[in-house]
Structure formats: C-alpha cells, structure tokens
Amino acid sequence: MKNKAYSQISEFFRATWVIMLKDMQVWLRQPVTLIATVAPAVILILVEILGAQAVGRSPVALVVQDSGPEAARIAQAIRDANVFRLQEVDSAQAQVLLKNLDVVAVVSIPAGFSQRVVAHQAATVDVTVNNLNLDFTNDIRRAVPDAITRYYAAEGDQSPVKISMDEHDLRARDIQLFQYSVLPIVILLLIISGLITGGNAAAREWESATVKELLLSPVPGGAIISGKVLAGFLTSFCLGMLVLLAASGLGWIYPQGIYWLNATLVVGLVALFGASLGVAIGAALRRIMPVIAVSINLSFYLFFLAGGMGVLAFEPEWLQNIAAFVPLTYGTHALQMALFYNSADLLGRDVLVLGLSSLAALALGTVMVRRGMAK
C-alpha cells in the first residue's frame, strides 16, 4: 500500500519533470520568440541608460551680455545649479542653436544687468523657450528661478530672500530614473515570459492535437498542468534573476544579505503568477497566435496599470485605485523596497497578494485545462 502511494507520487513527479523538460526544449528551439520575449525589456533598459544623462537636464544656451560683477554672479549660479547642459555662446550663435533645436532655451543676461541690480531696479534674466512640449518648458520655468534663488543664497545673511527650504527626504538614498525603471521592466519581462511560455505550452498541445496522446496516457492530469506551469515558471524566473544579477553587477540596485532572498521570493511569485495565467489563457484559447496577441496586450496593460513607466503616487487617484487591484503593483513595490532600500516594508502584504494571485491563476489554469481535456 505504502509502496503504491510512493510509486504514484514518484510517477507524478517524473511526468511533471518530463513535460516541463519537453516544453522548455520546445521554447529553446524557437530563438525568434525567445528574442522577442527578452528584447522589449533589454532594449528598454538600454534606452533608459543611454538617455539617462539627458533626463531633467535640458540643453540650454547661456548668453552673458553684461560684464559686471552681478552678471558674473548670476551666470555662475546658473552654472552651479547643475540643471542644464549649458553652452555658453554669443547672441547670434544662441539664435542659431535655438532655431536648429540644439537647445530648448536661450538664457540671456542682458547688458546693464549689474547696474540695474545695484540701483535696486528691476533686472530680468531673459529666457526664450521653445515651448513645443510642456515637459521641457516647465523644466526651464523651474530651473531658472532655482538659479536665481542660488544667486541670492550666495549673499548669505545679506540676502533679501529670507525664505529657505528645509528638506527632509523620506528615503535614505536618491534613485536615478534609469535605476528606478529597471524593476518594473524586470516585472514586465517576468509577466511577458510567463504568459507566452505558459500559454504556448498549453495551446500547442491543442493546436498540434498532441493533447490526445497526453489524455490517453496514464499520466495524472495534475502532472500535465504542473509540468506546463513549471516550464513557464522556470524560464521566466531564470530570465528575471539574470537581469537582476546583471543590474546588481552594474551597481543599479543595492541588495544586501537577506534582501536577496526577499527579491528572489517576489520574482518567483510573479513568475508563478505569469506562468499560471499563461496556461489558463493557452487552455482557453487553444491556438498559439491568439495566445501571443492576448498575452502581449495583457502584459503591457498590467505593466502600465501597475505604474510601470511612471510613479504611482503621481498618477490620478482613480488610476491608483485600479493599480491596487493589479498584482504587479505589489511585485514592483516589494522589489523596490528590497533592492533599493534594503527594507521589508509591507513585504507581508505584497507576498500575500502575490501568493493569492498566483494561487488564483493556478486554479484558473487548472479549471481551463481540465475543461479543455473534458471536451
């Protein structure tokens, strides 16, 4: 009796292993699909890195037409503000740069500036801005007054500006935009890979009619589902961990000790969620092409709804409320806490939501596969 139970369990695991191995081999034999799964995440990360230098630092031409001491001081404040990529040129060159879209704005310190400041007359810093896009325009509108504040701050106690900013940051370290974007992209990679691999593994059996052989074999139904989910899980998990290791090697994330374990757990749960949902979609649609189309669309929707390319706190409240129902939101949060701040803040909540979502997706996958088998 005991031997029979042991034999059944052993048979279950063997079947799961064989099915998983077969699906992974099929996955590896499709290099274009493999590339298409990995490409969005890798290229997005590369684009973020290559563009990081320009983020928040707009190209600006500085024209100093006054040779007095106050003009020199304000020009220095503009340089020190470190918010522009400055080119110091004369007025004619500045106009050419503006016309050729080499700079967003021309900041001019007009002749007579120093005299006006000393005489307590209104002295303006002239800004000509190419306002074709509010993103760049507002950056300039904020940055020039920032430099003016620095100019006054340099006067110390004599400064007429008595208001200063007492800044407290909620988090111990600042994170650059490209670093910040890496983690949602890892989540995107996990979900795309899980959905496509799991979905294709399931749909392929129906499309090539091999599901008949599987059904007629003495393999338990649970082993078929487990094998397929496991194939999707392992491929996604390995891809996700590879990207995280690369990011750690490049110094973009700062995990230490136990927080590697937290991150691994979260990556695993998101991969399991994606693979289980993929199997459910594959079993429901039973054709590879609709599976791919649905998977990629769904992945991008989930990615954007979870605040993939922005910061959720900046989104309107209705979008934040929707994001609360997207499991990827919790995956991104848990990874940010573990990998940027070495913190387990709300880890319990995040793991619980991801765990329950994975279980729900697994249950859905099981129902769909069983329903498909019954037909």
């Binding site: 879209l101 200063s164 991008f300």
Partner: protein
C-alpha cells in the same frame, strides 16, 4: 499585348489584396485584436502620460496670514504641484499611503518672520522615489519663493525672469505624445497585418501555388501589401476617432495627415511583408513586431525633439523610420518642425525607406524557394 500584361498584373494585385483582406477578417479574435492594437497602445501610453505633470502635494498651513497665503498662491502658479491644504496628521497619513509625494509645511510664525525680515524655513518632506520626479519638486519650491518675493517685495528682490515663448500657446503632454503614439500604433498595426499575411502563405504552403503561377512576384508582393494597407486604414480610423473625439487632439493639416498616414503604412507594410517572407512563421512575426514596438517608441524621440537627448540616442534614432515619421506627424498635427531637414527632407528619407524596403522584399521573394 503589353496592355494585357499590365491588366493581368493589376488583376493579380487586386486578387491578392482581396484574398488577404478576406482572410484577415475570418480570424475574428486576431482581427479584433489587430484592429484595436493601435487604439490599445494609445490608451496604454496615455496612462503613462497621466503621471509626472504635477506632483500631488499636501500643504500644511500653520500660519494663515497674508504672506503665508501669498506663498501658497505662488506655489499654485509653479507649474509643478497639484496642491491640497490638509492638517499635519492628514498629510502624514496620505504620505504613508502613497497618495501624495510631498508635504510643504508653512510654519506658524511665517508672516512675522517675513515682516521682520528674518530667515524662515519652509518644511519640505519629499518621497524621493526617483530623482526625475523629486528634482521637479526641489526646483519648484525655489520657483515659488522667487515668485512670492517678485510679487510681495518687487523692490527688494529685483532679479526675475522674463519669458518669451516661441509658440503662441503651450502644448500639453497628451496632445504632444498622442501623435508619437499614433506613429507607433501605425507601426504595430501595419507590420503585424502584412507580416501575418506573408507568413501565412509559407505556413500553409500556399506560397508554392503563388510562386508557380505566371503572376510576377512583384505583383504578388504589391497585392499582399495592398491587402494589409486596407486593414491598416481601418485601424488608423479607430485610432483617429479616439484621438480626435476623446482626447481632443485635432490635426492642423488634415491632408498632410492622410498622406503621411498612407506613407507610414506603406513603409510598415513593406517591413511586415519582409519579416513575414524571411521568418515564414506567424508566431515569431507577431512576437517580434509587438516586442520591438515599445522600445522603438522610447528610442525615436516620442517625448520631444531627439536633439534634446544624448548624442548616442540621436544616432540610433536616426537609423529607424519611426523617428522621421514622428517628425512629419508632429507637423501635421501641431505644425511643429522637430528637425532641420524640413518636410521635403524628411519625406525624401521616408520615401527612401519605402523604396528600399519594397526592393528588399522583391529581392527576398525572388530568391525564395520552397522545398517539396
């Protein structure tokens, strides 16, 4: 004799186009997805655009004097904040819940300090999630301080900015980005339909009949591209309806829009046909098309002129037609000139892309064989 030949080839083109159009309509789920993919992209990207324009910020007014009020007004004009006045407790709760990203505290003795010309500190607590967003807040507070002094003490703080804009009105995030999104939506729709139609012939082995028929390969290719173009026009109409009716982004030059859309579809249909003929399987064609679209969107100057970004990205962006398409579409919608090539220069390059891709497809198809 020659006229008959031309008529025959035109007949082939039309027959191929009609067949592909009909086949596309038979695969219902995929057609629906294909037709709405561009609209989907528009909606998804718009979600991204919703963030980032204004930082949700709580202001704790511990002083309600006239200077404190004036400072609050200066903050509200700083192009950066979405302000709400709350108590300190409420602000802390909202910060912990992630509903706001900054708390600005105007201290109780703010007015007194200002009147006595004494230093005063405004508390600013920032959820410094990433520097791009955080720095906007860090710079917006000085802007508020400068604006406050410029209004309250124009004689004391006399250095201010005088802004001159190149365009009569500002263009907001969504109207600007929606145009770039339209281009990437056209890319996805056009490449997908044409790629599917070509790969399908290889997958079903019906390409044998086509290659063995007396029809010229050029006519076959043109027919397939025309079929994809017809479906692509359908997708474009869906996107334009969303763009014009729901987002209120109305093109300034409708004729340019029509012409540029057709040119874009021609390029993407050629690209799709090329991918389908080379890869010969629908599955990788779909995955590849969808997989490269999002990165290309970020790469090709979707957010602003690429001359504002880094030189490496500028070089890479110029390799792909998407960059030039964004430039001409921004002209059609907003009358913007985003590079120094001018409309003829950009159109010439895009014409080159179209001709080059069509030539490449013809060559690949000429050399294509299928084992029996």
């Amino acid at each position: 004799m020659r006229t008959q030949g031309i008529i025959y080839q035109l007949h082939v083109i039309w027959a191929c186009a009609r067949k592909d159009f009909r086949v596309a309509l038979t695969d219902r789920l995929f057609t629906i997805l294909g037709l709405f993919v561009p609209a989907n992209i528009l909606i998804m990207m718009s979600l991204f655009v919703l963030a980032g324009s204004k930082a949700p910020t709580a202001v704790v007014m511990q002083d309600n004097g006239p200077y404190a009020q004036a400072f609050y007004q200066a903050m509200s004009r700083a192009h950066s904040f979405s302000l709400q006045i709350t108590s300190a407790t409420e602000a802390a709760r909202k910060m912990a819940a992630g509903q706001i990203v900054a708390v600005v505290t105007v201290p109780p003795d703010f007015d007194t300090h200002i009147q006595l010309d004494q230093p005063v500190q405004v508390g600013v607590e920032i959820n410094n999630l990433n520097t791009d967003f955080t720095n906007d807040i860090r710079r917006a507070i000085p802007l508020s301080i400068t604006s406050f002094y410029a209004k309250a003490f124009p004689n004391l703080v006399n250095v201010t900015t005088r802004e001159t804009d190149l365009y009569p009105h500002d263009t907001d995030y969504i109207p600007y980005l929606a145009v770039s999104i339209l281009v990437i939506a056209l890319m996805m729709g056009g490449t997908l339909q044409a790629g599917m139609a070509s790969a399908r012939e290889w997958e079903n082995e019906t390409i044998k009949e086509l290659l063995l028929s007396p029809a010229s390969r050029l006519a076959i290719m043109l027919g397939k591209m025309l079929g994809a173009l017809l479906v692509g026009v359908g997708s474009t109409v869906v996107v334009l309806v969303v763009l014009v009716l729901f987002l209120g982004v109305v093109p300034e030059h409708w004729l340019e829009l029509a012409g540029f859309t057709l040119l874009s579809l021609l390029i993407f249909n050629s690209l799709g046909t090329l991918l389908g003929t080379l890869i010969k399987q629908r599955q990788p064609v779909i995955a590849l098309t969808m997989g490269i679209s999002l990165p290309l969107f970020f790469l090709s100057g979707a957010f602003g002129p690429i001359s504002f970004t880094t030189p490496v990205l500028q070089i890479i962006a110029k390799i792909f037609p998407v960059y030039y398409q964004i430039v001409i579409m921004q002209h059609a919608f907003h009358n913007f000139s985003l590079n120094t090539l001018g409309l003829p220069g950009n159109l010439l390059i895009l014409g080159g892309f179209a001709a080059g891709l069509m030539l490449l497809v013809t060559l690949v198809l000429q050399r294509s064989t299928m084992s029996h």
